[in-house]
């Protein structure tokens, strides 16, 4: 079956035109006459010719393909970033290979290798929560391949990062809780190997400091911020005296915590006010609706991929390391209403 695939040589033979001319025609070269082109196009259609990209990529050493690695595509934030990437890629004539690490370093390593061996022209990555060591990525960069980090930056060495201002957003979120009257604000924090969660924590601390709110380490509950973790964290704060506000480093944990607390007859926001992070669609529809930080996800995808395409074209990557910081915004909803 598969053996009868049509090649440019079949077209060549059928028409008595050399395969090099066929190749040129199919690539729409202007060094082929209109007449021959037409003949070739027709014959190609007639025979059901389908270019073999593998061969052409091998030959040209360019794949016009980029790889994207995200923790999970089901997260609204990431699928929106991907939408932004795909839009830009489409305009630039690039294909996109989407991969998910599922927050596992091992998987991430394998994915990088697969992308590498498929000779993608560049990679956009949001590293997994487990990633603490960047060798698999440094090797890649060392070879001069363009690599851009988004959302979860890597400042271990020189890199191009596209991030949002997590510190500022977290500061504002916490400040908002303070201004509405919260005196004992807990923080649901994520893995501290991710700078992003460090920054969210720092913003929280900075706000407490600015308003002279006493702080105790017990107020910070560090987990993976999954659904189950939110419940664990909720139980935790019930043990603490008089917690009246929570700034959660993501929506997922905040939402499951709220659900749990509601079942325990804790009133949100009267007893405990909540602010989340990410603006997952679900946060707008739960009751009470969740105050959160909206991230410019689609824009992030566009910015990151535009940078990547620039680097692919100019090949001056090494020198062009830079960090782009996008601005998120606080959305106040019922979970932290005055």
């Amino acid at each position: 079956m598969k053996n009868n695939t049509v090649t440019i040589h079949d077209i060549s033979k059928a028409l008595g035109i050399d395969s090099s001319t066929v190749s040129r025609a199919l690539n729409n070269s202007d060094r082929v006459s209109k007449k021959t082109k037409e003949k070739i196009f027709n014959k190609a259609a007639e025979l059901g010719y389908q270019r073999n990209s593998l061969a052409s990529k091998l030959r040209t050493n360019r794949t016009n393909t980029i790889g994207v690695i995200v923790p999970r595509i089901s997260r609204h934030f990431f699928s929106s970033v991907i939408a932004g990437i795909e839009e830009t890629a489409y305009k630039a004539g690039f294909d996109v290979i989407i991969c998910q690490s599922l927050e596992s370093v091992d998987r991430e390593k394998k994915l990088v290798e697969t992308l590498l061996s498929n000779r993608v022209d560049g990679i956009l990555i949001s590293i997994s929560m487990e990633t603490t060591n960047y060798e698999h990525l440094n090797n890649y960069k060392k070879n001069g391949y363009p690599l851009i980090f988004f959302d979860r930056p890597c400042n271990v060495s020189e890199n191009t990062n596209v991030i949002i201002d997590d510190f500022k957003a977290s500061f504002e979120a916490t400040e908002h809780l303070i201004k509405r009257g919260c005196k004992h604000i807990a923080h649901f924090s994520g893995p501290q190997n991710l700078e992003l969660y460090q920054n969210r924590k720092s913003g929280y601390l900075k706000a407490l400091q600015k308003y002279d709110i006493p702080f105790s380490e017990t107020l910070v509950i560090e987990t993976q911020l999954m659904q189950q973790d939110g419940i664990t964290a909720a139980k935790e704060i019930l043990k603490l005296p008089k917690v009246d506000g929570v700034f959660s480093a993501n929506d997922t944990a905040a939402i499951s915590a709220i659900q749990y607390l509601k079942n325990q007859d804790v009133k949100i926001p009267e007893d405990i006010a909540f602010v989340g992070f990410s603006n997952e669609p679900i946060s707008a529809v739960i009751e009470p609706s969740l105050s959160t930080i909206n991230q410019p996800d689609f824009e992030m995808g566009k910015v990151a991929s535009s940078l990547l395409f620039e680097q692919i074209k100019n090949k001056k990557y090494a020198s062009e390391n830079q960090t782009k910081i996008l601005t998120p915004s606080l959305i106040i909803r019922n979970s932290s209403k005055f």
Copy 2:
């Protein structure tokens, strides 16, 4: 930069061993002595060798890659199916290329071509809402490539489909509304070119018929079932006399309709009861929580991909057309409580 990529020939030269032996060693052939293998592995690591899959795929005419086309990865149902596919693929040693058609036929056509030109070994597809003509897929099948439809089947010609029993689930959902006392049940329906929505409508009609509930065409509101469509549909049923129940062909439309109706002081489920379809995570947390149909998404991914790998191995595709039907289940929540 990129030019210094290491090939088997570099290893070959460095060690004075022929490149064919290097190739065999790197593929772990048992026709290479342990000693030479070791030398080769070490040198490969030392030089930072990274196999060129393009060349290998071209030569072997096998890519060990399958393509998956879904309408959108952000839909919980599809990302769960993909998770099932990836798990099976991983075990089978296959890579997966994930693509989204965004419900556009044009995009879908291009994706099929791209996958084809990259010589994937098979394709799993859930067609777009716009797809009414299957030429782009028939061409693919005609060449003997394995192709499996999931969730949204294609019975225009002989095909392998993996679906859920939409008819039965819809019948049960409607029956449930009837048993709880609804007498005027509307149906939010999807594009009728998708069999799936035909079946959901049929199940609804069958239930009305069985219980001798009078039916009028105005009760069926056909849209794309997007968020906005839910609102439009909600306005529509308010115009109808005494609608007291809605069976929606997806959760998205049901949820936005409920939100809208709540704002209009319609009581759910007292005034109008709702049952959705898909069990999106959001349906469990909104208020009232949404009764819906749970689909075995992860399992569907596993079943569909297992079938595909079988077809890839056995190459008897043409003759093996079959339809696998998985069983969904009704989840009763507050939106249709008695």
